[in-house]
């Protein structure tokens, strides 16, 4: 039994939620016909020049603040030079020495009985994405086709320190980071569309004769799902241990290796040894000017921090009385869920009941309908009213479910739904009529109540039951008091 620890740092590339590319006006919409979302700038035509999309800077700074990083007064652009057909200028505009975010950390929520973990961040920098190479193996010609729609799309690369200690922890870090980016609406984090891509730097610390020995660092590329990250790290930790036990090579004794994750085979494969890798010849991009990040502007973005998952959990559990568990579940359901929740509460719904509806009926229905919560057919204000009226005893829980089903299929207001399916909420007009009758018949009792003896109302409730045996004593009492005291 060898004692060892897995050491992992992650580089996460996030596509920012901008309408247009980082340095030109082309659309960033996914799924357009190849090479249609292009212009002389992102095609790298001779003489075309980049002009910064300031929205990308705003989103990067919001992310930096949310990750507790420092925002420098000035950030700059550098060129990373290499040849590849999906890189039409022959260089990528990136940031080397003056990234938009320095340092920072992300706290992972502590699971039951665990210490909370703080994962330190090195930096986060902006860069433009490359296009896509499509290698056509079927034609037999070996032709490659290039789609430059993605070329120039803004990416934020978030680099962590090697603070992660297991595959599960790496996955937890990614989940929390993804939630953060989604709640801040910085990125849609759609992994199938490549909006979030992960590279991992991995090695082991092995105990040898009471001494910690670091094994060579390997970079794993092409991790396109959280599951792939988890499996690749598990695989790599076993592979590196076996390699170390076989050859005893330590860090620095072999060149840094880059491996790719083969999802089909569930293994990593060597892509290249670092020694033969390109020298990127970074230098400041002379076509762009340094960006001044005014301190008061940066401060104004701090208002967005209330959208951080940690703050929302705090608000839901602390201020609204949900359990930590429920708060966690709602936050994990994403920003549309929190927006729905908050609007339903504002419409009078009780937090705990709305939370239950969201976690059960609404989630199930949304998934059956294949819609997201911002497109859900029952608007949050309607659900809030329904929940409030169930809470007030106007409808039973079973009636509430029927009303919900009706609202789901037919829309409309709660009242319209109740009428349509013939559920009689206790008829307010009948109750009013009964109470007016009682008030007219018992002037002395009314005087007593106005004089401060509310308990005198009991006499009228007895009388009410003589007129209508089905009258709900509680409601009659409440309505009587309301009518008497308001006049």
């Amino acid at each position: 039994m060898v004692d060892y620890e897995l050491i992992v740092g992650l580089e996460v590339h996030v596509q920012l939620n901008t309408q247009t590319k980082l340095f030109c006006g082309c659309s960033t919409l996914f799924g357009q016909d190849p090479n249609t979302a292009t212009c002389p700038v992102c095609l790298g035509h001779p003489g075309a020049l980049p002009v910064l999309n300031e929205e990308a800077i705003r989103l990067a700074v919001v992310t930096g603040l949310a990750l507790n990083g420092s925002i420098p007064p000035v950030t700059r652009w550098d060129r990373k030079n290499y040849f590849y057909p999906d890189l039409p200028k022959g260089y990528q505009i990136s940031q080397l020495d003056h990234p938009v975010v320095g340092g920072g950390y992300l706290d992972l929520p502590a699971a039951e009985g665990q210490e909370p973990r703080r994962i330190r961040l090195t930096r986060a920098h902006l860069e433009e994405d490359a296009g896509k190479s499509l290698h056509d193996e079927t034609s037999g010609t070996g032709d490659s086709r290039i789609d430059l729609n993605r070329a120039g799309t803004p990416l934020l690369e978030i680099v962590s320190e090697p603070d992660l200690r297991s595959a599960a922890e790496a996955k937890q870090y990614l989940s929390e980071l993804k939630l953060l980016l989604e709640h801040l609406q910085v990125s849609d984090c759609n992994m199938e569309q490549g909006s979030l891509r992960v590279d991992a730097n991995v090695n082991l610390h092995v105990m040898v004769d009471g001494e910690r020995v670091a094994t060579p660092i390997v970079e794993i590329k092409n991790l396109n799902s959280f599951r792939a990250v988890e499996r690749a790290l598990e695989y790599e930790s076993q592979r590196q241990l076996a390699a170390f036990l076989a050859d005893g090579k330590r860090i620095g004794q072999v060149p840094k290796q880059t491996r790719g994750w083969d999802d089909a085979a569930q293994i990593t494969r060597v892509q290249r040894e670092k020694e033969e890798s390109a020298d990127y010849r970074y230098f400041p991009d002379p076509d762009l000017v340094p960006i001044q990040l005014a301190a008061d502007w940066v401060e104004s973005l701090r208002a967005r921090m209330s959208h951080r998952p940690a703050e929302i959990r705090q608000r839901l559990a602390g201020d609204l009385g949900l359990s930590d568990y429920d708060a966690g579940v709602l936050v994990a359901m994403g920003p549309a869920c929190i927006a729905y929740f908050e609007q339903a509460i504002a419409a009078g719904g009780d937090a705990k009941r709305v939370s239950n509806w969201l976690q059960q009926d609404i989630t199930r229905s949304a998934s059956e309908l294949g819609v997201t919560l911002d497109q859900f057919p029952v608007p949050p204000a309607v659900l809030g009213e329904l929940v409030a009226r169930i809470g007030a005893g106007e409808f039973t829980t079973a009636q509430g479910k029927d009303l919900f089903q009706h609202l789901l299929s037919q829309g409309g207001s709660v009242g319209e739904a109740a009428e349509a399916i013939g559920i009689e909420a206790v008829d307010e007009s009948a109750l009013d009529e009964l109470c007016q009758q009682l008030i007219a018949a018992h002037p002395q009792v009314v005087d007593d109540i106005r004089g401060g003896k509310a308990q005198a109302v009991g006499a009228m409730i007895g009388a009410a039951r003589k007129i209508d045996r089905n009258a709900d004593p509680g409601k009659v009492r409440a309505r009587l008091l309301e009518l008497i005291q308001s006049t």
Binding site: G47, V51, R79, K89, R281, L288
Partner: protein
């Protein structure tokens, strides 16, 4: 002598001449004489005739006319022109036609100027003699066996030979001013950031500017008024407007800097003498001369070639055969083979000339891991030191006068095998590029041969108009700019 740009504009507006006549005269001259000079890489005769006809119609309809209406302009073939081939003097772009106009071309068209064609240059602007063009050298109209200077050699010769009154050049290290001096015309490199670079094919982005070349300073000013101004498409284009000049009436009180370091052994006697008489003329106008020092100027050439080549190695990476331009026909070997690498190297081998390759290699080396600090980094610090030198010098003076070039135009072939000697032709001009300052070259005399001699004035940032005004005063009083070469008379 044919009309200046402003005279053309006036004659056209007054109805003395039609735009069509102006264009036909110009096309006819090109047709008859360009074989001797090799100025035009592409003549845009169709577009020019169409535009002239439209202008004539508009003038007859009494519609408003732009400030350069009817003026024929030749454009250095490094500036993108929509639907007109733009070769950059390179084989690799022999068949490349841009899909967009450079901002300066937009502005010329807005001003109703007529682009008649694209002029020869050193490939991608890299050269000081116009001998580095893939399409042959340009002959100097004053002596066909001599060079025009470069890299805007065609743009200088075309004005000197009276084909057109106005041309656009680009200046990275002297590429407007040095050929202006060699061809006996006025050439202005504007303040960095005053004219949009959008659409100029980049050689060294942080150094270069587009500028006008003409026989008179007044024509250059008219062109600059059209070209200058902020452009949303160029992030390095400034929002600071050019300043008004205080030298449009008299030069009394003008303080002229005289750089001691410029008076080294390398200056030809002819240029030294012409400079002395220019100084006397200025003193006669009430200007005073003040010695100034630019202690880091002697590192200018080294810093310039390191920085310019570094940027070039990156700027020219896009010419790789993958997306446009020349592509070597390499047998596909699939992505597992090295077909891609071969395609890159063979396309660049066939498409790029020796001087371009030399600078790409130099720049790649200067930026590479382990050397970047010693070369690119150090050159950047020299650049800041030179900027500081100028800042201090301009505390005491309004402009700095000196030679544009160390020698008069040399013979074709004389320096092609000695790149370092060729680089020294830029020794006085690169400083303004490194510091981002406006600088103008103007004719101040002739050798007995006769070959033109140029002087250079460097000004404070955004004081381009001051330089133009001083040269205009000089031209009011002298006739060097009125002399024309006789080589094309036969």
């Amino acid at each position: 002598m044919s009309r200046t740009a402003l005279e053309s504009r006036r004659a056209f507006a007054e109805g003395t001449v039609t735009a069509t006549e102006l264009v036909e005269t110009c096309l006819n001259t090109i047709e008859r004489h360009d074989a001797k000079l090799n100025v035009f890489l592409t003549v845009a005769d169709e577009q020019a005739r169409r535009q002239a006809a439209d202008l004539d119609r508009r003038r007859d309809a009494k519609e408003p006319l732009g400030p350069l209406a009817g003026v024929c302009v030749a454009v250095k073939d490094l500036i993108s022109t929509r639907d007109i081939r733009t070769t950059c003097g390179s084989r690799i772009l022999e068949k490349y036609t841009p899909v967009f106009d450079a901002t300066v071309i937009d502005r010329l068209k807005q001003a109703d100027a007529i682009v008649v064609g694209k002029t020869n240059l050193d490939e991608f602007g890299m050269g000081s003699s116009n001998e580095n063009s893939a399409y042959g050298r340009v002959a100097n109209p004053w002596d066909l066996d001599r060079v025009t200077g470069g890299s805007s050699g065609g743009a200088a010769a075309v004005v000197a030979a009276d084909f057109v009154p106005l041309s656009l050049g680009t200046d990275t290290g002297g590429s407007i001013r040095q050929p202006a001096a060699f061809c006996g015309v006025v050439g202005l490199k504007p303040t960095y950031g005053s004219v949009s670079r959008y659409g100029m094919v980049a050689y060294a982005s942080s150094l270069e500017q587009i500028g006008p070349m003409a026989r008179t300073a007044a024509d250059c000013r008219a062109a600059l008024d059209v070209l200058a101004g902020h452009d949303d498409k160029d992030s390095t284009c400034s929002r600071t407007p050019l300043k008004d000049s205080s030298w449009n009436q008299s030069l009394k009180g003008l303080r002229v800097g005289w750089v001691e370091e410029h008076w080294t052994d390398g200056i030809s006697e002819g240029i030294a003498a012409a400079l002395r008489s220019t100084r006397e003329w200025l003193e006669g106008q009430g200007a005073t001369f003040v010695p100034v020092s630019l202690p880091h100027a002697r590192y200018g050439i080294a810093a310039y070639y390191l920085l310019a080549s570094s940027e070039a190695s990156s700027n020219l990476a896009r010419f790789d055969g993958a997306h446009y331009g020349l592509r070597a026909n390499v047998k596909a070997e699939g992505r597992s083979g090295n077909g891609l690498e071969q395609m890159y190297s063979q396309s660049r081998e066939a498409g790029l000339g020796p001087e371009v390759k030399r600078r790409i290699l130099l720049g790649t080396f200067a930026l590479s891991a382990g050397y970047a600090e010693a070369f690119y980094g150090k050159a950047s610090r020299v650049r800041r030191a030179i900027q500081q030198d100028f800042l201090e010098a301009f505390q005491d003076v309004d402009v700095i006068l000196g030679p544009t070039t160390p020698t008069e135009p040399f013979r074709a072939g004389e320096k092609v095998d000695d790149p370092l000697a060729m680089y020294l032709a830029d020794v006085f001009t690169v400083l303004a590029n490194l510091a981002g300052l406006p600088a103008i070259s103007f004719p101040v005399g002739f050798t007995e041969h006769p070959l033109p001699l140029g002087a250079q004035l460097i000004g404070r940032p955004f004081e381009d108009r001051a330089l133009l005004d001083i040269v205009e005063r000089f031209q009011d009083d002298t006739d060097w700019h009125l002399r024309r070469p006789s080589s094309l008379n036969s």
